[in-house]
Symmetry: C2
Subunit: 333 residues, 2 copies
Amino acid sequence: MPATIRDVAAAARVSPATVSRVLNGKVEVAEELRDRVHAAVTRLGYRPNGLARGLRTRATTVLGVVISDITNPFFPLMVRGVEDFAQSSGYSVVLANTDEDLVKERRYLEVAAAERMAGVILSPASSRRTDVSVLTRHGIPLVAVDRELPGADVDGVFINNHAAAREATEHLAAQGCRRIALIAGPSATSTGERRLAGYRAGLRASGLPSDPELVRRADFRVGGGYQATLDLLATRERPDGLLVSNNLMALGALQALQEQGVDVPGDIAFVSFDGISWAPTFRPTLTVVEQPTYEIGRRAAELLLARVGGDRGPARKVVLPAELKIGQSSSRR
Amino acid sequence: MPATIRDVAAAARVSPATVSRVLNGKVEVAEELRDRVHAAVTRLGYRPNGLARGLRTRATTVLGVVISDITNPFFPLMVRGVEDFAQSSGYSVVLANTDEDLVKERRYLEVAAAERMAGVILSPASSRRTDVSVLTRHGIPLVAVDRELPGADVDGVFINNHAAAREATEHLAAQGCRRIALIAGPSATSTGERRLAGYRAGLRASGLPSDPELVRRADFRVGGGYQATLDLLATRERPDGLLVSNNLMALGALQALQEQGVDVPGDIAFVSFDGISWAPTFRPTLTVVEQPTYEIGRRAAELLLARVGGDRGPARKVVLPAELKIGQSSSRR
DNA sequence: GTGAAAGCGCTAACAG
DNA sequence: CTGTTAGCGCTTTCAC
C-alpha cells in the first residue's frame, strides 16, 4: 500500500496542499517546511499518483507514439528523436505497435484517449481509413509522421517522397536502365502513393515509357517484397533496374534476387528507400534514399509539444529532405 | 470537453452507477435501461476516463514493457509475443526504451509506478544495479526477460545462455578451430556473463586452452563489436574462430572482418547469438544461436498476468531452449 | 435491479 | 505563505 500525499503531510506536520506545492515547485514554501516535506517523502518512499494528478489537472506528461510496424528499423531512430526532445521538456514517451492493423490502431488511440495522454505521434496504418476522431474529440493533439492523414487537419512531419522517388528513378535511368521496375507500397498509404507518382515522373523525365507490368504493389513487408520480385523476374522481359519503396521489402527483394541468381548490379541495378543497420556490411553496398529519421522524430515531438503547450495555429506540415546515397548496387559503370 | 459518465447518465435518464454497471457488465441491468445507456454512449461518443477508473479501482489494464535497446531487432518479436497474449486478456501494452541507461530505466519504472500500470516486463540494463524497488513498493508485478535480476526475487524468462554458448563453442572447435575468440557482452548483464562462462566451458570440453587475449568485452552494440573485432585481428596470432554474444555486435564484427579482408569462414569461422532479419540474405549464411524470441514474450506476459491476477506463489524462472542453427559462416569443411 | 452517497489521491481556489 | 475545502470521473458500498 503506497504512501499518499496525506501520509506525507502527516509525517511532515503540514497540509497536503503544502506537500503538493513543495513537490510541484510552483509556489514558494518556507525552507523549513520544504525540508520536512522532502524528508518525509524520502522516508516514506512517496511517489505521487499519476492517475490522481492527471485526473485533477486534466493532463498527463506522457506522450504516445503509435507506430505501424515495430519490426521496421526505421522507427527506433525516430523514437529516439521523439524521446530526446520530449525528455528535455519533462515528458515521458510510451510506444505502441499497430502492426499496420486498423483495429489495433484504433485500440491504441482509444488507450491514449482513455489514459488522457498529453499528445500522440502517429504513423497511420492507412491514410484514408485511420480514424483519429477519438483523439480530437478529447482535445488530444496529434502529429502524423511518415504518412499523411488527408482527412484530418493535423500537424505532420514527412519527407518529400515524390522528389526522392523521382530522383532515384532518374538515377537508375542515368545508369543506363531502360526497364525500371518499382515495388510500390500499399495504395492506402500516402507514402506508397507519392513514391509511385515520383517514380512515374522520373520515368517521364528520363524519356522512358511507363509499363504497368513493371509496377508491383506490396505491403511494406519482407514477404511482400520477396513475392513481388519473383513476379517481376517472371515477366517476359526482365527489368534491368529496381526501385523498392521501403527497407523491409528491399530485404525480401534482395533475397529473391539472390535465390534466382540475379546479379546486382550486373543484371539489375538496385535502389531502395530507407537504410537499415546492415547496409554498411552488405555487398554490394546499397544505394538508398536515406531519410533523416532521428530528425523526423525530433521535429514531430517539437510540433506536438507546441500544441500541448496551447498553440492553436493552423496545421503545420514539415517536409524534411531525403538524400539519395549512391552505393554499388545501382552502379552499372 | 469529453463527455463524462454523468452526461451519459443524464442522457439515458439513469444514475451514473447504472451506466457504470452497464459498461462493466458485472451486474445485471434491465434490458431497457441497458439499451438507453448504450445509445447515449454512442451518441455522446463517451469514453470512460481511464485515470478516474484507475484511481478508483487501484488498477489499470496497461502493461509496461521496458526494454534495453529498441534498435535491437531481438525486441520487436518479443513485444509481439507480449502483445498477443496481453490483448487476448484485455490488456494493452506500452513500451519504453532505456537505451541501456540506468537513469532512463529508473525514470520509466517510475512512470510505470506513477501511472499505476498493472504490471511490467523488464529487460534490465544491469543485473546488479537495476533497481526495481519502486515497483515492488507499489505492489506492481514484474517479470524479467533476457537478463536475470539476482537481487530481486522476481519471475523471469530466459534462455539457457550457458549451454547455448558452450554448444556454439564446441561447434567451432569441431570445425577445427584452435583459437576461438569471444566478443562478450557487458559484465553487468547476466547474459554477458553466462555466455562467457559457457564459452569457457566449451573450450575446456574441447580440450582447448583459454586465452584471455581472445576474450573482448563490448557493449552489445554495433560499434563495440566492430572495435573488439579490430582489436582481435591486431593480436599476434589471429583467431580462427569467433563467437559474438549478440546480433548488433555481430553486425559490427562482420563489417570489421570485411574491411580487413578477412574471409568468413575461410580465415575465420563465425557464430553469433540472435538472428536478425537480414540473416537469410547474407552470404555466407550465418550460423546463429537462435532464441525463441516470440515465445519469450508470450511466456513473460503469461507469468505477469498470473501475478496481476493475484498469484502469490514463489518466483518462477522459465528457461527456454535456444537452438544452434548451422549456416555457412562456421563451416570449415 | 436501481439510485444516492462516499471516496480513490491529488491540486486549484479560496480564506486567512 | 499556509491550511481548508471542494471536486476531477469513476466505482462501490449501502439503502431502498
